[in-house]
Subunit: 190 residues, 2 copies
């Protein structure tokens, strides 16, 4: 695995995930997270408004990558092909940190309803970003919303399968295969 | 509009929505909600664990109705026809209270990120309930998840259109028309 040197933001996420794992989300304070990461509390607040936002940290970047992939797909791409291009762009940005932290992030979310709520809203945000990008391509509204939901489902499902795969596997083949499964399911629906 | 006499649970929801509208969600306490509803704080806590859960109050009932409609659809029904039966069952349970409170509930949610998160998780819960009911009918996993997402989108969209419609309009035609639009969009995707 490539060497990877975390900055303050990454150290905060790692410290938080460690503390959530050790002592639970509710018992963990911002002060403890900052101490464990070796930064001040004000550094914490430069990066995150509160501890809940910490686990949704990637949402903005992920939204941007999904939207960029969709926007830059060839004019001839169908809506689902454009979504596939978005998934590929976003998948290729996921690296060893995601791979390493994901199981513990998932455990923290599974154990806490506040985090489940934040996570659900993250997925709504990703779908909205894709829908906007598809609409800009001239895709009709209902089709754009539907294609985006398929994109979110494919990303979630591909990501989960990737975490079970060999350590050096790339994410993109998993998210794209999940999208293809959903496309087939979609055909069987109509 | 039919006369409708709210019980303690409904009075709590109405009082909360009124207070959220008047003074915002963050500034509103459980004590204030109970007082406005004319009940004790312990009555509040018999109905809801906290003020955030209050706006997701219908989730369990709605999940049950959607699942029942799906389970009781004829054996010959396709997955989307079963989802339509679920939507019809759930839609027919929505009455004047929903109609009256919905715009203010929406305003409260739009104004508060905590409530947006809770609302997003509510939709995840509705989708999960439909997916389980479809799987029990023998629908393959990917198809069941996809059909459920279409069901959630159709319910949300039909509900929003219903709120714009004549006061005595029934909800079911709106949710079923939205499902039909999504089915057509789904065909255009594949």
């Amino acid at each position: 695995m490539a060497r990877w040197e975390p900055g303050a933001r990454e150290r905060l996420v790692i410290a938080a995930v460690d503390l959530f794992t050790e002592q639970g989300y509710d018992a963990t304070t911002v002060t403890q997270i900052a101490e464990r990461a070796g930064v001040t509390k004000s550094t914490f607040f430069r990066h995150f408004p509160d501890k809940r936002e910490l686990l949704a940290a990637g949402q903005e970047t992920l939204s941007r990558l999904l939207a960029e992939g969709i926007s830059e797909a060839p004019d001839s791409a169908t809506p689902l092909e454009a979504v596939g291009a978005g998934l590929e762009r976003a998948s290729n940005a996921m690296g060893p940190m995601n791979r390493e932290l994901a199981p513990r992030i998932k455990a923290a979310i599974d154990a806490n309803s506040e985090l489940q709520q934040r996570d659900a809203l993250k997925n709504v945000g990703l779908a909205a970003a894709m829908t906007d990008a598809l609409r800009t391509r001239g895709v009709p509204d209902a089709t754009a919303r539907l294609a985006s939901e398929l994109g979110v489902l494919a990303f979630k499902q591909g990501y989960a399968q990737w975490l079970q795969a060999r350590e050096d596997a790339a994410l993109a083949p998993y998210t794209l295969a999940a999208l293809e499964d959903l496309r087939a399911a979609s055909r069987s629906l109509t």
